[in-house]
């Protein structure tokens, strides 16, 4: 197995941002940064200190606005959705990650009207959003005492910030896989291709799923 260096993760993130800006799908971004965090090293972005507000009992629109105002994101996409990517590395192993997608509570999802977005039509913000937007998050936590076999998988997907929602995932998720997952499911259309030019995969994480978790419905990252 390869040795994991924080620089590799940062490079992965920067390449993705660069590609998405070039394609005109990323409107705004924050530079990523490597910072020491106790005995660990954190790969994060400026504004990450405001992430915690997303965890309270606040209404989604409020959470979104707070994150957007405080610029707590790696990227803001064409339809206002925010992407956050944070990794913590201890020694040469990944200890935690938090990869979140926060769609705009008021704008239409990109796929509903991709042409209007790409043509930058005026008044496109004047819409009644009919689909309930919800955030999704890929969390990984290998700290002792946090994960619980089957009940709290090390790597899991949480939908809509729902407390008990932890869909098991086979392994930690790389920035490259996370961004592709978002683009493929929420942005790709027949006419608008954001995926085929994505930079190649540079990182592989070892599996973290337990056999009990494999017995449940789960997601597999194809490393």
């Amino acid at each position: 197995m390869m040795v994991l260096a924080p620089g590799t993760i940062k490079r992965d993130i920067d390449r993705l941002i660069s590609e998405l800006i070039g394609k005109g799908v990323c409107d705004d971004s924050n530079f990523s940064a490597i910072r020491p965090y106790g005995r660990m090293v954190e790969v994060t972005f400026s504004g990450s200190e405001h992430v915690s507000i997303a965890l309270g009992d606040i209404e989604y629109a409020e959470i979104y606005r707070e994150l957007a105002d405080k610029r707590s994101f790696n990227m803001k996409l064409v339809d206002g959705a925010l992407l956050q990517m944070m990794y913590r590395v201890e020694g040469d192993a990944l200890l935690q990650h938090r990869l979140a997608f926060y769609p705009s509570p008021s704008l239409l999802p990109f796929q509903d009207d991709p042409d209007a977005y790409m043509r930058d039509e005026l008044f496109i913000e004047i819409v009644q959003r009919r689909i309930v937007p919800f955030p999704l998050r890929f969390d990984f936590d290998a700290r002792e005492g946090v994960h619980v076999d089957a009940a709290h998988p090390k790597s899991h997907l949480t939908l809509g910030d729902v407390k008990g929602c932890r869909i098991p995932v086979s392994a930690p998720v790389t920035p490259r896989w996370f961004v592709e997952f978002i683009l493929r499911n929420f942005y790709q259309t027949k006419k608008h291709d954001f995926i085929s030019d994505l930079p190649r995969h540079e990182i592989k994480f070892p599996a973290s799923i337990t056999s009990n978790e494999m017995g449940l419905m789960h997601m597999v990252v194809p490393y």
């Binding site: 005109g24 971004s29 105002d69 610029r71 930058d120 008044f123 496109i124 004047i126 819409v127 959003r129």
Partner: protein, 719 residues
């Protein structure tokens, strides 16, 4: 010296006494100067003060009026002392008005009580208290012996600037006195106060509809914002809406109104009373509210969002118009929700939106709409008010301005663009020096239907005659385009047109320039805007440039469909703004790059729109502008610019006659998508026909005689 008395009518809470004062002052023959009512407003540690009326006169100095509506004079002597002290303290901040510790201008206070007949009984010695009959005598007592014209002008400007403020976004740090950053700082300091006309436009609000016209950069937005704040300060209970077309203006309005309210009253505005809202709006709370949406809610009419309106009304320009018309037609209840509505960028709205605003107002229907007739260079931007608002039951127009100047304000001076920048925008926008296409009568792309409009927007006839069909040379004067706007830099540095071999080369140059601006020129990130003229390709064309800058460590953002943040320029994070033309409107920056400008050149239908975009893009510049692109169409623009520059930035052309004007309107008109499609189809059919003729698949003789003759005639071929 001033010939007579100029009166600027603001609002105060004493309308009857104000009217009486105005009448009494008007009949005084020997008084000259300026009168303001309901002005100035100042804030002191004791709270806010609104001066009922102020006279500034070269023979009297400053006279403050304490107006008394009823018959109770109260502690008027105390009020007079208070007013004089407060204003004196403020005026003493102007060094040019002080000598030693003394104010050079006499400052007096007169209490004016038109309802009191027996003045003598209430008067206190040495504190003038008069009614209509005593006013002349009281003023006669006052004499400014050492007054001179210069001092009078300075006094007037000090009084006017008591209520004007334009703070720049954040402090500017400059280390080199000749850097671009230093030059911008100088410019910003010079335009920090309003001029006379702007100030008048701020203070005067009419009972009814008021129109404010002016060029880009003449201060319309500031005037509207200050006016809203002034009204809010004077009438805290009024519901006031400020609305606009370009979303990115919202933050600007908020900042200006907030600053002004604090300056005037020491308090933050009550945002539940003074509302800065979108024209359209959508459900989803206060931040997304809009005038049209509110109207639909209040009248119980069906609300259409962008998508449903687009599918119902074809052609994106007409979508909002369609929605407004439908709402007006279907609303059964009247909804008088506002005491005043101020609409900016009215040139971008259809008349139906203004009508909708009008119907939402309580009598006397205080609607103020500001527009730039040039942003739509065809000169047909908005019909006259009689047409916009229609007639009442008796067939009389609901709104008409007549000759009343207060109802129809024109701001002639342009404070944003220097003369070379503005004349370039007009020259290219109209195609003044465009090469005459083969077989065409003129190179002009478009022209105002009314020649007189040129003078209204601040041009002067240099030679020739400003009449249809005549040769004319127009120039901007130092009066309407102040010199200080152009003197900071070499004229060759103000405007540059640059051609590259291709897009890649253009982009590489741009990336290098931006880095230089940030590192060498001491410009801030928010001093730079990059504008791509075609909204359809703004994303794809700016992407590669932004990518390069990101990789070089320069933060950028694309002004997008961003609902919540409402910021065009970010003040917190240093980031260079990229934008399509629509979202650039209403904003300004020191350094403007207009990229892929070749897209603004062409021929035939749609050319006037393309040139309008170029015009809008260039006029975003407070100091420097770089118009860049590639290919032969870029060369065409460069040739036009060279023509303009060689003639010393004057517009030298033959004004089209009526026939040519209507022809221009057709040749370069805008086409709806359907029309465009039909035209394309016809063209390709014609091309097929030609290629068939060339290849011999079809012979001219295969066409019948009549058709052949007709074709010959239309195409104007030789016999």
């Amino acid at each position: 010296m001033t010939e007579r008395l100029n009166i600027t009518r603001g609002v105060n809470k004493k309308p009857v006494a104000t009217d009486a004062l105005e009448q009494s002052l008007k009949i005084l023959r020997d008084i000259q100067g300026d009168v303001f009512t309901g002005y100035p407003l100042i804030v002191t540690p004791d709270g806010k003060y609104s001066i009922d009326a102020t006279l500034v006169s070269p023979s009297k100095g400053i006279v403050l009026f304490d107006l008394i509506e009823g018959s109770d004079v109260g502690e008027y002597a105390e009020r007079q002392d208070d007013l004089a002290n407060k204003i004196e303290a403020r005026l003493k901040l102007h060094r040019e008005l002080v000598k030693g510790r003394k104010l050079l201008v006499p400052l007096s206070v007169i209490s004016f009580a038109p309802r009191i007949n027996n003045i003598g009984a209430a008067a206190v010695e040495n504190y003038p208290l008069v009614n209509e009959h005593g006013l002349a005598a009281a003023l006669n007592e006052l004499n400014w012996i050492d007054g001179n014209n210069d001092l009078y002008r300075m006094t007037l400007s000090a009084i006017e600037s008591l209520s004007s403020i334009r703070k720049s976004r954040s402090k500017r740090e400059v280390h080199r006195s000749d850097s671009r950053g230093a030059k911008l700082k100088g410019l910003e300091d010079s335009i920090a106060t309003l001029d006379y006309r702007q100030n008048k436009a701020v203070i005067e609000t009419v009972e009814g509809v008021q129109r404010i016209r002016g060029l880009a950069g003449s201060g319309k937005t500031i005037v509207l914002a200050l006016k809203a704040a002034y009204l809010h300060t004077q009438y805290p209970d009024w519901r006031i809406a400020v609305t606009f077309h370009t979303r990115s203006l919202k933050a600007q309005f908020r900042r200006l109104i907030n600053n002004f309210c604090i300056e005037q009253s020491g308090e933050e505005p009550d945002w539940t009373k003074i509302r800065i809202i979108n024209a359209w709006g959508a459900p989803g709370g206060d931040a997304r509210d809009g005038v049209y949406y509110e109207y639909c809610r209040a009248t119980g009419t069906e609300f259409l969002d962008f998508r449903s309106a687009s599918s119902r009304f074809r052609g994106s320009e007409q979508v909002f118009d369609g929605a407004c018309l439908a709402a007006l037609a279907n609303a059964s209840d009247a909804a008088h929700l506002y005491d005043a509505i101020l609409a900016d960028e009215a040139q971008d709205f259809a008349p139906s939106f203004l009508r909708l605003c009008y119907s939402m107002l309580k009598p006397p229907k205080r609607l103020v709409y500001a527009y730039d007739e040039l942003q739509n260079l065809s000169g047909t931007s908005l019909p006259p008010p009689e047409e916009i608002f229609g007639n009442d039951g008796a067939g009389r127009p609901l709104v008409t301005f007549g000759d009343e100047r207060r109802r129809d304000v024109i701001l002639q001076k342009c404070y944003r663009n220097s003369r070379p920048v503005l004349v370039t925008a007009h020259g290219l926008g109209f195609g003044i020096y465009r090469e005459v296409p083969q077989g065409a009568p003129t190179g002009l792309v478009q022209m105002f239907d009314y020649p007189a409009l040129w003078e209204e927007i601040g041009y002067k006839v240099k030679s020739g005659q400003l009449t249809k069909g005549q040769h004319i040379v127009l120039e901007r004067t130092t009066e309407t385009s102040p010199r200080f706007l152009e003197q900071h830099s070499d004229i060759d540095d103000l405007v540059q047109f640059i051609k590259f071999d291709d897009e890649v080369q253009q982009n590489a140059w741009l990336v290098q320039q931006i880095q230089e601006n940030l590192t060498v020129d001491e410009l801030r990130h928010d001093d730079i805007i990059v504008i791509h003229s075609d909204p359809q390709t703004a994303r794809s064309s700016t992407g590669p440039i932004r990518r390069k800058l990101f990789e070089a460590g320069v933060q950028t953002h694309l002004a997008g469909v961003d609902t919540d943040a409402d910021v065009f320029f970010r003040t917190d994070t240093p980031s260079v703004t990229f934008t399509g033309i629509y979202r650039a409107k209403g904003n300004e920056a020191g350094m403007v790059y207009v990229i892929n400008a070749q897209d603004c050149n062409g021929s035939g239908p749609g050319l006037s729109s393309l040139r309008n975009r170029l015009f809008t893009a260039i006029t975003r510049s407070k100091a420097w502008v770089r118009v860049i692109g590639y290919g032969p169409r870029m060369q065409g623009l460069i040739d036009e610019f060279i023509g303009l520059k060689q003639r010393g930035f004057v517009l030298d052309f033959t004004y089209p006659d009526d026939a040519l004007l209507s022809k221009l309107r057709i040749v370069h008109r805008d086409l709806s998508p359907q029309e465009r499609e039909r035209l394309e189809r016809r063209r390709s059919q014609l091309a097929d026909l030609l290629s068939d003729l060339e290849s011999g698949e079809l012979h001219p003789e295969d066409l019948d005689e009549v058709t052949r003759e007709k074709l010959k005639k239309f195409l104007g071929g030789n016999e």
